[in-house]
């Protein structure tokens, strides 16, 4: 093994892959087979980079040679950077040896498009096949499905991989046309449609025959870049909602655009990464998936942008003061979930605990409710509650004054740079 050469390749191809934010290694249920290596179930973050993102998978490109010229991508054809390519065996060896040392949960393999879609996809599938069949590797494998690849290859990929994903890249078709003129949105949607069909069919087969082979047990996900084009949060979230509903996606990832290239179509190179916006989008995404919110309750014509000062749940609450205060000891779970300062686990604990005794402030605090936010919106087993007739704006001011936003400092340092 030529250590220096492998090291160089790893540096180039890990660096090129890092803008893909998907890191999940959960949702699969792959058992260790015949005393082989590994299993995949709940997902583990094995490390965290200095930017605070988790490292769960060996996330690399097979190659950063690419025939496309997408404006937002470091690996674009006309970008003057070092190019490299791994052999199939090199990726297999790295994965196995990292996995054995408990560095990773598995492999996330993507690639630039060299020659054509099928040629690229075939190589990705070959890596996964080798890991599964020759090395009895049962760890997590996430493969990119290359837009335009044939259905036979996609089907084979699904047999070896836990998760497959196609990146939509831009939230809207117009955005994609502007920045990636070579790419076609329909080419990205086709494989999603195909995978959705296969996954559903596989689930049916599983019901009939327990031994039916697994097909992408961790489902499919996608990623959109925000802040590179001028889409509003409403457009981004409507689009995410559409894909959740129509393609049974497990996750939509939002990637705050990191300026990597000078291009007049893109934000300037010294633009700060929209970290707060990205965070608010994820919060909104969680509200849609776990808290029973409809997308148009979070963003709509009157409020096309998420409030950057406060989280989207609080933002919704102060626009809808007529539904509060909520009686913690009586309201149903779905209503309690809508109270700012009460999370999923706290809400479940509240509903379980109130069967034994009515809950007061002290207990709510112990259970983990953020009282400084929730107190404006609830009543509980106590005579003390917010008696003033406050407007939504008042509450926003009080909460912002009493809590230290982790972002205020962040924004200042970002401003100070320029």
């Amino acid at each position: 093994m030529n250590v220096d050469r492998i090291t160089e390749k790893l540096n180039i191809l890990a660096d090129a892959a890092k803008y893909d934010v998907s890191c999940a290694s959960s949702g699969s249920d792959r058992k260790n087979k015949d005393k082989g290596l590994g299993n995949a179930s709940n997902g583990i973050c094995h490390s965290y980079t200095e930017d605070g993102r988790c490292v769960s998978l060996l996330k690399i490109l097979l190659t950063n040679h690419c025939i496309f010229d997408c404006a937002y991508c470091v690996s674009r054809k006309n970008n003057d950077i070092k190019r490299a390519a791994f052999t199939v065996q090199e990726v297999v060896d790295l994965t196995i040896n990292f996995y054995r040392r408990n560095y990773i949960e598995g492999l996330f393999l993507s690639s630039g498009i060299f020659k054509d879609a099928d040629y690229t996809m075939e190589r990705l599938v070959r890596v996964a096949k080798k890991l599964r069949t020759e090395h009895n590797f049962n760890g997590y494998i996430h493969l990119k499905s290359i837009p335009g690849a044939s259905e036979e290859l996609m089907r084979e990929a699904g047999l070896y991989a836990d998760r497959l994903s196609v990146n939509l890249e831009m939230p809207t078709e117009a955005g994609l046309k502007l920045l990636a003129p070579d790419k076609n949105r329909q080419d990205m949607i086709d494989p999603m449609q195909f995978l959705k069909k296969e996954i559903i069919q596989n689930a049916e087969e599983k019901k009939l025959f327990k031994k039916a082979p697994m097909f992408a047990p961790a489902g499919q996900s996608t990623q959109v870049i925000v802040g590179a084009t001028s889409e509003s949060d409403e457009q981004v979230l409507q689009s995410a909602n559409y894909f959740y509903k129509n393609f049974n996606l497990k996750r939509v990832y939002y990637s705050g655009y990191v300026p990597v290239l000078a291009d007049q179509r893109l934000p300037a190179l010294n633009t700060a990464v929209p970290l707060v916006r990205e965070n608010r989008l994820y919060q909104a995404d969680w509200l849609m998936r776990f808290y029973g919110f409809q997308v148009n309750e979070i963003v709509n014509n009157q409020n096309p942008l998420l409030d950057l000062d406060i989280d989207p749940k609080l933002s919704w609450a102060i626009r809808n003061m007529q539904v509060f205060p909520v009686d913690i000891n009586k309201a149903d779970l779905l209503m309690i979930l809508r109270v700012p300062g009460i999370g999923l686990l706290s809400a479940q604990k509240i509903v379980a605990a109130r069967k034994f005794a009515r809950l007061g402030w002290e207990q709510l605090k112990k259970i983990g409710v953020a009282i400084n936010r929730a107190r404006y919106f609830i009543t509980c087993n106590s005579n003390e509650f917010e008696k003033r007739d406050l407007t939504g704006q008042n509450i926003k001011q009080f909460i912002m004054a009493s809590s230290q936003s982790k972002y205020i400092k962040n924004t200042q340092t970002q401003l100070n740079l320029f």
Partner: protein
Amino acid sequence: MNTLVYDGTFEGLLTAVFEIYERKLYPVKLLKGEWRNSALFEEVIPVVTDEARANRVLRGLRKKLSAAGVQRLYISHIAEVEGEDCNVLGFIRHVFDSDQNIEEDYGNRYVMRLSEILKMVRREKHRMEAFIRFQKLNDGTFYAAIEPDFNVLPLLIKHFKSRYADQKWMIYDIKRNYGLYYDLHDTQFIEMDFDELNKPVNVIAAYSEDECVYQSLWKNYFNSVNIVSRKNTKLHVRHIPKRYWRHLTEKI
């Protein structure tokens, strides 16, 4: 106030519960360890662990709690979180003093505290599953040293055994001086005598040929995936507190 001293085992704890109810010792303080070392001016009652009595209490608990509830109680105890014996005892008393199953009575301070302890212990267990870094030795064994906040090694058996079924491995808790060894068939607890020259941290001499290569590749990978323009040290340290760094290949 009566002070009870027991041997620190789960059976010991259950025996203590038996004594408390049998002799109506309440209010009571429960301590772990040798009774001789306890405070001079208190009356100290040593608890002699008794399997039959412990089993009676356990049967009682099983009647009042779900199987998962008993398991949770057991985990909260064996993890040896310091100074929590009285809360565990409070929980058990609450179990016996109620007519119904009180597992979800989070308004009760003992039930809530037990759920907090369990959360701490599970987080530590999960951290070990994430942060353990095996080093391949020249006899083919994969070795890792750990210093967890709580005694979570027994909770790690299932995860590592079902994951690394085809390699020999050893996880050694150097804080509590015992380890877990898997020989391709089964796991067993072991204690090793490390003399000065052969400290568990000085395993570099026993590395397999390619160990340094993969460590260096991993460090390279770790640095390559960082996005400098998104640097967020506070978040980084919150996810990997500094006390874990000394055993993390990428942070050494």
